[in-house]
């Protein structure tokens, strides 16, 4: 049975570098994708992503297992991205290019027929474009839900919003994405 994140973080707190390796392996992909699709700039994403983990390392002494590690980690990521947006006065711009990139790598190992593959690519492109078109707060709620498997209360905690607001953001996001997928059908 795998050790919970909190135990691993406590172990790392005590100096066990191997515990951090396991923890990092579990969360690196979802966190990176969450940040990449929120920031929409791979170079900036790399910088912010590394900064988030450095903050985890530096803040290990203050970590308390009262909070879930995942929530703590994504809270750090959320705050770091908000700082970045604020500092650079960035507005999240709809980017069809980013949506195209997101939809490019479609799992094609399913052995689907070429016509089905084309149809699947079209669906994914529409989905990617719809995600990119979501308002930032809705996109963030959706990405947290999909990438990290967070529940609504966890999303609310990580983003510092009321649970109802988080629920509403996630609901609207799913509705728009569902519509985008059904438009192609």
């Amino acid at each position: 049975m795998e050790a919970p994140d909190e135990e691993l973080m406590l172990a790392y707190q005590r100096g066990d570098a191997g515990a951090f390796d396991v923890l990092y392996g579990r969360h690196k992909g979802p966190l990176y994708r969450f940040m990449l699709r929120a920031v929409k700039n791979s170079g900036m994403t790399d910088e912010l992503y590394q900064d988030v983990w450095m903050r985890v390392i530096e803040s290990r002494a203050r970590y308390e297992p009262t909070a879930k590690f995942k929530t703590w980690l994504y809270t750090i990521a959320h705050n770091r991205m908000m700082d970045h947006f604020r500092r650079h006065s960035l507005r999240v711009v709809e980017s069809t290019e980013e949506a195209s990139e997101m939809a490019e790598a479609v799992a094609d190992a399913s052995g689907a027929q070429p016509e089905n593959l084309v149809e699947a690519r079209a669906d994914l492109r529409r989905l990617a474009e719809a995600i990119a078109a979501l308002p930032p707060v809705q996109r963030e709620a959706f990405l947290l839900h999909q990438e990290s498997g967070m529940t609504v209360p966890e999303i609310a905690e990580a983003t510092g919003t009321p649970v109802e607001a988080a629920k509403s953001r996630l609901r609207y996001a799913l509705q728009k994405l569902r519509e985008a997928l059904s438009d192609g059908g």
Partner: protein
């Protein structure tokens, strides 16, 4: 979660999207930083309780090593250079001279002290030449003082030897100043004077410059001998001192003998020269003196065979 917050089709489609991962270099950098954090600061989160033993003892061990090394070096230096403990004698001699200066010595120090000061400065700047007697004596006494601080017994013995050989360097200087104002008051000054004046014409006191080896000690000794052992001659001891110095400088007078140099000078001559002198006296018609010297010669050299030709010249005419 409510149904409106769950859509399997959307979730499935999302999972089919490209799933980028962080670059490998980024992974390595983050993991390296995580290891550095717990390695550089041992157990940073828990106050260093879980650091590696090497890292835990590195600082105390290095501090202890530095302290031990410092103590060893200090002890070694003290053993190698014990003279460092002894203060330099020159600054101490100067206050002594100043202390002595106000001493009421009739008709001496008032004039001698100002003249002495520049000479001391000169002596301090110019080291005494190796052939000068006072300088080695002074350095020897300094060395004796340094050793005396460590070994009082040896110091006592050296002091006894020094008292037999002569007074300390500073004292004869003062005596010389008092008794013979015309003389150089400081041995180093006397020693350096010829070197400085060597290229210049001779001054009125060349006698002093010619005899730099023993300027003050003989004066004191001859005065002391004259005062205690023999009746004082009509000329003052100061007047006898230059002649004694000259003779001593030439090696014709022993250190502890203040007698006139004539007879001893005869003794130091080679037998041939002595005979020549006797022959000359005989030739000059001073037969009594020639007889006396011949008698002394034979007593001194009983086995010496006088050549026939010389025998005719030194013996009284028949």
């Amino acid at each position: 979660m409510a149904d409106d917050l769950r859509d399997d089709d959307v979730s499935a489609s999302y999972r089919e999207l490209r799933r980028p991962e962080p670059p490998r270099a980024l992974d390595d950098a983050i993991l390296a930083a995580s290891r550095r954090a717990v390695g550089a600061r041992p157990g940073g989160a828990d106050g260093g309780r879980r650091g590696s033993p090497t890292a835990r003892w590195a600082l105390p061990a290095s501090v202890a090593a530095v302290l031990a090394l410092s103590v060893m070096v200090t002890l070694h230096v003290q053993e190698e250079l014990p003279g460092l403990e002894a203060p330099a004698p020159t600054p101490r001699a100067a206050p002594e001279a100043k202390r002595e200066a106000p001493t009421p010595v009739p008709g001496s120090t008032a004039d001698a002290t100002p003249a002495q000061a520049p000479q001391e400065k000169l002596a301090a700047k110019e080291p005494a030449p190796p052939q000068a007697a006072p300088a080695p004596a002074t350095s020897a006494s300094r060395a004796a003082e340094a050793v005396a601080r460590r070994d009082s017994k040896a110091a006592t013995e050296r002091a006894a030897v020094a008292s037999n050989a002569g007074p300390r360097p500073a004292e004869p200087t003062r005596d010389a100043v008092r008794t013979s104002p015309g003389f150089a008051s400081d041995p180093p000054t006397v020693a350096t004077a010829p070197a400085i004046e060597s290229s210049k014409p001779a001054r009125p006191q060349p006698v002093v410059a010619q005899a730099p080896a023993a300027p003050a000690v003989p004066a004191t000794q001859s005065a002391a001998v004259g005062a205690s052992a023999a009746p004082p001659p009509p000329a003052p001891a100061v007047a006898a001192a230059p002649a004694a110095r000259e003779l001593r400088a030439r090696g014709e007078l022993s250190r502890d003998d203040g007698r006139p140099a004539a007879k001893l000078a005869d003794a130091s001559e080679s037998p041939g020269k002595q005979l020549e002198r006797i022959a000359q006296l005989r030739k000059d018609g001073r037969h009594a003196e020639a007889d006396q010297l011949l008698k002394e010669f034979r007593a001194r050299h009983p086995g010496y065979r006088i050549p026939e030709a010389m025998l005719e010249r030194v013996e009284p005419p028949r």
